[in-house]
């Protein structure tokens, strides 16, 4: 059953929810982006509908709520280890379909690939997801081609239509709240994108052999190895451990993990100075195949959810989707098709 609420009513719902939950949604940080007076859209705690940014795509994904950029794992004193504690409240996360699909990828790695991750899991269990209806794709989106344009496994759905809030809830307590503050609407279903300005097609016969293609060479020069694509990606989950002792008292310290990027120098460093994938083109190849080949080999479905954030965030205007569309030709090249 769907409900229609005024924004005021919705804010009351949010207030009610706020008693139990910390509510996170894409939010505008005015002037918070790289360049002067450019807003950044990223996840933050919200208390009102107005704070939820629905017009613009978030530059960074919800990912950082489950896998913070920097997360303390343990506190150390001289002889003791103290596990960092988890946030007290439960969490509601507003996200679009692509991101909801990304949650599955995070779960895949953090709950299933090898042993489950303690820190992820204890957070993950606290989270409810509210799907933000997505009536139209942004320029760089290609969710339809990645099959992530539609999601049903939400705890609630949310959409702003003509200044009014439409909600649907699967969570029984929430349903009650909506009934209280809104009026029922027949047949509400969150919008989803059915076509995207950006299209991608991934060759059916894509194989690791594509590594030998010259298609990657371009990125030796173009890519600066900054890692923005990874940090913005809702499915990139690599991290690096850091141990420190505190400046104020070296007897105490902590172990953290921070987000890592396979594009950034140092990612593959091994003891003694060796490293792999020194060239940026190699890193690009590694990342691309991870997103549209390796993960699928391992887990049966594509990792990339087609949100396009990597395209949007790249300071060098390297387009991931454009690379995907070059793979066919690259495969031809390594297969020895085409001109020769």
């Amino acid at each position: 059953m769907g409900y229609r609420l005024s924004t005021d009513a919705m804010n009351q719902v949010l207030a009610e929810l706020g008693k139990q939950y910390a509510i996170y949604a894409p939010k505008c940080y005015p002037g918070g982006n790289t360049f002067s007076e450019v807003d950044c859209i990223r996840y933050g705690e919200v208390h009102t509908v107005e704070e939820i940014e629905t017009e613009r795509k978030s530059d960074y994904s919800f990912k950082e709520l489950l896998l913070p950029f920097s997360e303390t794992l343990f506190f150390f004193t001289e002889n003791t280890i103290q596990e960092a504690s988890v946030i007290e409240k439960d969490m509601v996360i507003f996200l679009r379909s692509c991101d909801l699909h990304a949650v599955r990828r995070l779960d895949e790695i953090y709950l299933r690939n090898g042993l489950p991750d303690f820190y992820y899991q204890r957070l993950r269990e606290k989270v409810q997801f509210v799907l933000i209806g997505c009536p139209a794709a942004f320029d760089s989106c290609f969710c339809v081609d990645m099959g992530t344009n539609r999601s049903d496994n939400y705890d609630a759905a949310f959409e702003l239509r003509g200044g009014q809030v439409y909600m649907a809830a699967r969570h029984p307590q929430w349903e009650a709240l909506l009934r209280q503050y809104g009026e029922p609407v027949e047949g509400f279903a969150p919008s989803y994108v059915t076509e995207t300005p950006t299209r991608v097609s991934i060759p059916a016969d894509l194989s690791p052999a594509v590594a030998k293609s010259t298609v990657w060479d371009e990125y030796d020069k173009r890519c600066i190895g900054c890692g923005r694509c990874n940090y913005a990606c809702p499915t990139c989950t690599c991290f690096t451990m850091q141990d420190i002792y505190y400046t104020d008292n070296a007897k105490a310290g902590e172990r953290r993990r921070v987000a890592a990027s396979c594009m950034v120098d140092g990612f593959t460093d091994v003891a003694g100075g060796g490293s792999y994938r020194k060239k940026h083109g190699e890193r690009m190849r590694f990342k691309v195949l991870h997103k549209v080949y390796d993960f699928k080999q391992r887990n049966g479905y594509q990792m990339c959810v087609g949100c396009g954030r990597c395209d949007d965030v790249c300071p060098e205007y390297i387009s991931f989707s454009a690379i995907l569309n070059k793979l066919e030709e690259a495969m031809q090249e390594v297969r020895g098709d085409g001109q020769q």
Binding site: L115, T237, D243, I244, A250
Partner: protein
């Protein structure tokens, strides 16, 4: 559902510190539990960090961890002495299954610190010669000063074909000179088709050694390699060890060459 926190390490006592070179020591740690040669531990000192270290020896209630002093953690480890403690978690990964080599000729080619992960395999056949057929060991180091497990080599020579080579032996009759690959062609292998080979070392050394072994008629499926990566988690999360669709920490570090040959860094 509550899961255990795999990132929690446990104190382990240093039983013995065995220096090899100025920057390479073996720490013999108290340890109870099953360990496979080629597996690794995450060794840490709180506030200094954690590092994946291969098991270089498996004893009664001990494991050996041969550590090279190359960074913050290992620097700090080198400040520890017998009787002190290190943090360990593991073992992680898939190691060498010595059962696969039972009764076969085994050629082991190792370079530098690559000797560490294969040492338990060698030791296995050294102490259980009845389980093997013949072990040939080619080990390469930069120089005499870099040789690890020098006494072990002397001991292993009693039973095995051991070729210990350095870049320049400066006329030392105990040492060969040159790359390990140079000694593969002349290696006495009775039945190459059934022989097993283990190759561990720097990437280029591994690549050329495998080529040489293949040329000797050793089958791809009888070659095993071990990959070195700087895992942070050991449990398939941190991503540092991923190669293609493989997580070295989960699916390796030891791979049969039929799998490894397609892996592209």
């Amino acid at each position: 559902m509550t899961v255990s926190n795999e990132y929690l390490s446990h104190w382990a006592e240093i039983r013995e510190v065995i220096p090899h070179t100025a920057i390479e020591y073996t720490f013999r740690m108290a340890y109870q539990g099953a360990v496979q040669p080629g597996q690794f531990f995450q060794v840490s000192i709180p506030k200094y960090g954690e590092a994946p270290i291969s098991v270089s020896g498996i004893g009664e209630g001990t494991i050996d961890l041969t550590i090279r002093r190359v960074g913050r953690v290992t620097n700090e480890v080198f400040e520890r002495y017998a009787g002190e403690r290190l943090f360990l978690r593991g073992p992680y990964g898939i190691g060498f299954d010595v059962e696969l080599y039972r009764g076969r000729e085994v050629v082991i080619v190792a370079g530098g610190t690559g000797v560490s992960p294969v040492r338990p395999v060698i030791e296995h056949f050294y102490w259980h010669p009845e389980l093997g057929r013949k072990v040939s060991l080619i080990a390469g180091f930069k120089s005499r000063e870099d040789i690890l497990f020098a006494e072990d080599f002397t001991r292993w020579q009693e039973q095995m074909d051991v070729i210990l080579t350095v870049d320049n032996n400066n006329g030392d009759p105990d040492l060969r000179q040159g790359l390990v690959t140079e000694y593969i062609p002349a290696l006495a292998i009775a039945d190459p088709a059934r022989a097993a080979a283990i190759v561990v070392g720097p990437p280029a050394m591994m690549r050329f050694s495998i080529q040489a072994l293949l040329r000797r008629g050793i089958a791809e499926e009888n070659i095993w390699v071990s990959y070195e990566r700087k895992m942070c988690c050991g449990i398939g999360k941190c991503g540092h060890c991923k190669i293609d669709d493989v997580y070295v920490c989960l699916d390796g570090p030891v791979f049969n060459y039929t799998r490894a040959k397609d892996l592209a860094d």
